[in-house]
């Protein structure tokens, strides 16, 4: 198992959690600066859970089931910590990283493995 392989579920977890944070009114306003309509919040919530589901799926590809589910929980933790600290200091960076990081991870996984 290389470090590279873990970047995909990790960045997917980050993107998923960012979407879930943006689905919360308070964080949405702080990060995107606008009062969100309810439909948009719901959109973010759905997107967030879909990303988390994708993340679990990518873990299941990497590890046997039991380990994969444990690691999925762990990677959500690991992705959440930078998110929590980016949110107050650099909210825009937090949002911008969310789509970029998984793409970079996919490229890295494809190129380096």
């Amino acid at each position: 198992m290389t470090v590279i392989a873990v970047t995909l579920p990790l960045t997917l977890a980050y993107a998923g959690l960012t979407a879930l944070a943006l689905a919360m009114k308070r964080h949405h306003e702080a990060a995107l600066g606008a009062k969100p309509p309810a439909a948009r919040l719901r959109g973010f919530r759905i997107a967030g859970w879909v990303l988390i589901a994708l993340m679990v799926a990518s873990c299941l590809r990497l590890w046997p089931t039991g380990l994969a589910l444990s690691m999925a929980l762990g990677l959500v933790t690991l992705a959440g910590l930078p998110l929590v600290f980016l949110l107050p200091y650099r909210p825009r960076l937090m949002v911008r990283l969310a789509p970029v990081l998984p793409v970079l991870a996919v490229i890295a996984t494809v190129v380096l493995s």
Binding site: V6, M24, H27, G66, G80, L81
Partner: protein, 547 residues
Amino acid sequence: MKAGLRQSMAWLHTWSGLLLGWLLLAMFVTGTSAYFREEISLWMAPELHHSQPSPDTPALAWAALNAKAPDAKSWDLQLPEARSPVAQLRWQPDTPQAEDGGRRRGERAVMDAGTGELLEPRASRGGDFLYRFHFELYGVPRIWARWLVCVATMFMLVAIISGVITHKKIFKDFFTFRPGKGQRSWLDSHNATAVLALPFHFMITYSGLLIFMVMLMPWGMNAAYQDGWRGFFQDVFPRDEATTEPGAPAAMTDIAPLLARTEATFDQPVRRISVDWPNRDNAVIHISTDKAPAITDKRRGGNPTLVFNGVTGELLETQPGDEAVPGAFRVYNLFVNLHLARFADPTVRWLFFLFGVGGTAMVATGMLLWVSKRTQQLRGKAPGAALRLVNGLNIASLTGLLAALAAYFAANRLLPVELAARESWEIRVFFLTWLLALGHALLRPDRRGWIEQLAANTALWAALPLLNVATTDSHLFSAAGWRHGALAGFDLVCLILAGVWGYALWRVVQRRTIRGQGPLPQRSRPQQSMAQGPRSKRGARTAEDSA
């Protein structure tokens, strides 16, 4: 009624967390380091750094054992692997005295895996000291220490559950961190590190208790077996005793084909070879490989092993057999394997290390929150003796322990190799540094104490890689240091930690209003940004009031 429950849980959380927090902090720090126990042990034995495994290693080790102990009772040979580049040789002499103490330790040697030369590493407990400290402390009778650690763990479980009940807005505040607001920031960071890593915290605490379940809850076993846990273990883990009588001298079969066959059977590299009655006509050779990385064991038994007749090379047995592991046992295995990260490859090991750091941060922020809240309530008055004591103990248990850890590593490089009882001196340096830090912290249980100990930590941790350059030839700027990732990794982690302490130092020096005793400006904050709207303020207050 509901408020009543939350209040009482908050009380429980605050006081169980504070009283056992210092011990838990030490357990978290040493336990986290224990994920890299073997790497730390390797770092602390520079004499082994130049060993490089080769395809000839098993043959060399076989020859070394034949030369060292041809007529031993048993041999045990551990081949090098990613985490340890040397071959470990152990043997049990065929003398009645060897069995006397009941602990059958036998003799041991370390072999350079490339040259076959026997190495003599400096005497050091290495990572084992930290690993043992994690659950047995040091210098306390083992059984007492284990009970104490288990009580602390039980209270940690209590703190986790009461913390979840106390935390009113667990989902609403899931991502909330409000920096620069003293007590509230500590509360937020305590919540963030606790809630986000809750699965890990729960797993590590509960599994920690499960590991000691035989000690903690012996009644079932005592009721079912006349000889208590001994009988239980004999039933659950039946041990086949080796033939107790040596056979007639005989030449053993060539080991190479047996190794190849084992590797082919299990599709894993061979890790361990053990022999009962080597060079006798009743010799039995056990060859084991790594386990496949899985966190549940579906089959009973240890690592995949082939058992051969030592003279003819005939296959006697394949282990583990087909006996399935019962459900409860699998749950136990799952938790214990997770706690010890037994299945972990390097990446997963690093993840567990980071979770351990997160757990340490969770305990530390909780204890800082306790002091911060009470400092804030003083509104500028001088703190009383109790608050100063707690703050002093916080300093000693956080920065003091980490300074002691750095001193332990430094002592490994600085103490003369020929010093008598050298390994004990390394440990003495650890405790003397810790004691010194405790004395210092109790004399200065305030901002100055933090600043000085953070400065000491920055210097000590930054000094370790430099010390390594001065005293070894396997440092960051050498090929040998990078050949085993563990060595360069160790030095890099030291540098990162030095950076973290340096940053923390800078922050404490900058923010005199928050950690100091001056009046706290955020009490009369005129305006709040959107992110700290009225709702979040109310949320924080409920938790504050009850903390």
